[in-house]
Each structure stands twice: as structure tokens, then as C-alpha cells.
């Protein structure tokens, strides 16, 4: 109350008027600053936009389509000669030099490391019972031939294939540019010529061994007990245990389907047969599938090779001599041993016995 009565002096009134005028002016300026710049829309809103679309740079879109790989015509004949820009190349380069070379290299190193660690912790799995000298037949001659034929080619292909992927980083510093070039030249030829023969071996395995590798309830129980890998227990198994069956199906799906299939694309056979085209996109995809699946296969193979040789006493004999000791059979494949125990005999007199009968088959 005191304020209003005291402010009715002429001086206070004029001051208030000035303040009011200032406030309104300020508001007017602020609003104008916001609204005026948009006023042009009132004049030519829709029209201006329409003009922009009509005046669009058509040529820019033309070249953008070309940049995205739109094909044209070329008098030069050849696959994709009319394509100006091959876009997949950059992705392929980054995947191959980046993800595949890095993770692939680590996968191999870690795979070998895990096996070495397992060997140090678990040691060799020995045969528990005393050796009696009695053995049972496990793999026929033709089965062993099929196995080692494929195995030897597998090793050749692994060495040559890994040389192609990692050689530039690992082998050029060791062999020099010329030395590695000679090695790589040998590698690519071995890889290309041996590959199809290897695929035949893997396909034969599918035909002849699939009957041994149908999963059963026994395998589930075997997996539930961890396959006896981490315990002293020896879970029951037929001729092939769960782990061996998993390896078989990895060989079929990762190996035969992915690796051999993509390999036959890469050497042009699938295109010859009319299954795929021979464009760069197909080749890039085939190469990526081939490289990734091959590394998976090689890493799992390390496990197979370890268990079959160093890891398990008495396992290698099955694939070399064709016979395994009765004690090994009882310990690792008890259910199968029950089926074949009537064939048990002394190893000496059986080395010649199975050979003639199996050679024919």
C-alpha cells in the first residue's frame, strides 16, 4: 500500500511509462526476430519447394546409381565388364584383412593353447587295466585307407590354405618376398588341384560312416557326463561316442558343405555346373565362407588329432593297425565291445587275418 501511494508523484509516473514502453519494444523486437525470417514461407512456401524438385540435379542421381553398381554396356566382353563400380570389394577386403585374419589367427592360437593346457592339466588318458595282448578289430582296411587319404590331403590343404591367408604377415619376414612367392605359388596349386580330390574323400566318409554316426540316447548320457574328459568316469558308448559323432557332423556340415562347397565355387566348378554365377560377388561370398569355415574346421581338427594320438592311450592303433586292445575297447566303448568281444584275439595272428577279407571290399 505504501508503494502505490508514494509512486503517484509525476516523476514516478513517467519512469513507469518509460519502463512499460521499453518492455513492449523489447517484446516486439524479440517476436519480430523470430517471425520475420519465416515470413517468406507465406509468400512462396509450396511453390519454392516444387521448384527445387524440378530443378534437381538429375545427373547426380545418374552417377549415384553407377556408384552403387548399376551395370552398363561395354564392347569389351568378360564377366561384369559393363559394371563400373564393384562395391562388394571394399567389404570383402575389410572382412578378409580384418575379421577373418585377426579372429582366425587368434582362434588357431587359442585352440592350440587350450589343447596344450588340457594336456598339462589332464595328461594322457591311460588304459586302466593291464594289457592282456588281446585285441578286437575296429576299422577295416578300406576304412583306414579312406581316413588317411582324407587326413593327408587335409593336412596339405591346411598348410597351403593357412599360408595363403597368413603368409604375408608371417612368412614374408622369414622367407623374403621371392621365397614366399615360390612357396605361395606351390601352395595355391596344391590347394586348387588337391581340393576336389579331398572333397571326394570327405564325401566317401559321409556315405560309408553315416550309419555309425546317428545320435542316440547313449550319446546324450555321454555328454551329460562330459564324455569323461574332466573326470575319471568312463561313460558308456557304442562304436563311436558322442564326441566322435559331433566331429563327424562338423566334418559334414562345416567341412563338406561349407568348405568343400565354397571351394568348388572358388575354382569355378560350381559355375561350370550352372549352380552359381561367376561374378565377383559370388566369389567374395564363397571366399569368406571358405575362410571362416576352414578355420573352424582346423581348430576342431586340432582337438580330433590330439584325442586320437597324444590324448588317449591306445586310440591311434585303431586307425593304424585296424585293431584296438580289449582293455581300451572296454574302457572307452563298452557297449561296442559287448558286440565284438567274440572276435577278440591275439594281435600277432590277426595282423594277416583281416587283410585278405577286407581288401576285396
Amino acid at each position: 500500500m505504501k508503494d502505490t501511494t508514494t509512486s503517484n508523484t509525476p516523476q514516478a509516473l513517467s519512469k513507469r511509462r518509460r519502463m512499460k514502453a521499453m518492455a513492449w519494444s523489447f517484446l516486439f523486437i524479440v517476436l519480430s526476430a523470430m517471425i520475420l525470417p519465416t515470413a517468406s514461407y507465406l509468400v512462396s512456401g509450396e511453390q519454392a519447394h516444387a521448384q527445387v524438385t524440378n530443378d534437381q540435379n538429375q545427373r547426380a542421381n545418374f552417377w549415384r546409381a553407377v556408384r552403387e553398381g548399376a551395370p552398363g554396356y561395354s564392347a569389351v566382353s568378360g564377366p561384369e565388364a559393363g559394371v563400373f563400380i564393384n562395391n562388394g570389394g571394399q567389404n570383402w577386403r575389410q572382412l578378409r584383412n580384418g575379421m577373418i585374419a585377426n579372429y582366425g589367427g587368434w582362434a588357431i592360437i587359442i585352440g592350440l593353447g587350450v589343447i596344450a593346457l588340457f594336456f598339462l592339466v589332464r595328461g594322457r588318458i591311460k588304459i586302466d587295466e593291464e594289457a592282456s595282448g588281446m585285441s578286437v578289430p575296429r576299422w577295416k582296411t578300406w576304412e583306414r585307407v579312406m581316413h588317411w587319404y582324407t587326413a593327408i590331403l587335409f593336412v596339405l590343404l591346411t598348410i597351403s590354405g593357412l599360408s595363403m591367408l597368413f603368409g604375408r604377415a608371417v612368412l614374408i619376414p622369414l622367407l623374403g618376398a621371392k621365397g614366399f612367392s615360390a612357396w605361395a605359388n606351390l601352395s595355391i596349386n596344391v590347394h586348387n588341384y588337391v581340393g576336389p580330390f579331398f572333397a571326394i574323400g570327405v564325401f566317401a566318409m559321409l556315405l560309408f560312416w553315416v550309419k555309425n554316426n546317428i545320435p542316440t540316447g547313449t550319446d546324450m548320457a555321454w555328454f551329460a557326463k562330459g564324455g569323461g574328459l574332466f573326470s575319471k568316469a568312463h561313460p558308456s558308448a557304442g562304436k563311436l561316442n558322442g564326441g566322435e559323432k559331433v566331429w563327424f557332423w562338423i566334418v559334414i556340415f562345416v567341412g563338406l558343405v561349407a568348405v568343400c562347397g565354397s571351394g568348388l565355387v572358388l575354382i569355378g566348378w560350381m559355375a561350370q555346373l550352372g549352380f552359381v554365377d561367376s561374378t565377383r560377388g559370388t566369389m567374395q561370398l564363397a571366399h569368406q565362407v571358405h575362410a571362416i569355415a576352414s578355420i573352424v574346421w582346423v581348430v576342431v581338427f586340432f582337438g580330433h588329432a590330439y584325442i586320437g594320438t597324444l590324448g588317449t592311450e591306445g586310440a591311434l592303433e585303431g586307425m593304424t593297425t585296424g585293431r584296438v586292445s580289449v582293455e581300451w575297447a572296454k574302457q572307452h566303448h563298452d557297449l561296442w565291445y559287448e558286440e565284438v568281444k567274440d572276435q577278440a584275439g591275439i594281435a600277432e595272428d590277426t595282423t594277416s587275418a583281416p587283410a585278405p577279407s577286407t581288401a576285396a571290399s
Partner: protein, 194 residues
Amino acid sequence: MARMKFLCDAERCIECNGCVTACKNEHEVPWGVNRRRVITLGDGESGEKSISVACMHCTDAPCAAVCPVDCFYTTDDGVVLHDKDLCIGCGYCFYACPFGAPQYPQEEAFGVRGKMDKCTFCAGGPADDNSPAEKEKYGRNRLAEGKLPLCAEMCSTKALIAGDGDMVADIYRERILKRGGRPQTWGWETAYGS
């Protein structure tokens, strides 16, 4: 040092394939190998454009990045060359190259391709300049003779220009200024609006 570049002016190229012929003749490349080719985009339609393409001698060349034997090198002039004595014909450079530049003389069973061949910017290869070995493997070395690539030299409409990047850019800029109109570069709209 010059930074060598090719530029093909699509507003000028008339798809005469003179560059292709000049290249094949100068370097005596085998049948089926085409270091350069002309592509016509929108062929037969209004506004069709032709463009001549070969190895573009990339700064960060994808072929060199993926080569398993590391046979590529870049000369002081910025020309990407490769050593046929090291090449194993794996085809990776062809998978990676954006322009389809790498060529292979063979196509046999078991994926044998022969050693890769590509545009050398008429700069030969790692063999001694203008030696018979260089001629045999890589073709003429015109750069060593102080000449520019024959494809561009012989271009009837001067659509294809080759040489030092700065000079090539100056020539092209001058043409654009004379032609007037709006910039016709792809991506212009995305970058700067209409």
C-alpha cells in the same frame, strides 16, 4: 613429384574405344586381356554417358591390401604397379578392385588364372626401364621415355586425360567453367542440397 591421375570426362567420351585399341596395340596384351574398357551407361537412352576405365592407381589400393604375396608397389609418381615374378594368380585383387582392373590371361580347370595383368599407366614394371623383359611382361614404359599414357594421348575428343593430378584438375576445372551450368558431380545434392 607428380601424382599421376586419369580422368575421363563423361561429357566428352563418345565410346569410340580408341583408348582400348591404343592400349592393346601399344602393350601387345594377349587375347581376352583388356587393360582398359569403355562402359556406356544408359546405353541407347536419352542422356547416355560413356566412360573409359582402367586401373585408377588408387592411393590406398585395395588390390595391394589383399594381395597374399604383397606384389604391389606405388611408384614415386603415384602409379600402382605389380611384380609379375611374385604374382601367383590367386584373383584376390580382382575381388577387391572397385573398377575391375585386374585381368588374367588364362581360365583353366582347377582355377588356374595365370599372372595378373593390368594397366601400368604406361610405366612398365619392376624390371629395368625399357628392357625386353619389361616389355614382355608389362608392355611399353612410356613414362620412362617422358611420354604420357597412349590411351589419353590418342583420345579423339580429349575426354580421357592422363598426367599430373594438378594439371588434370586445372584442365577439367577450366572445362567446367566454360560449360557453365550446375555442378554435375555425383553426391553434390546430398552434400550441399539442390
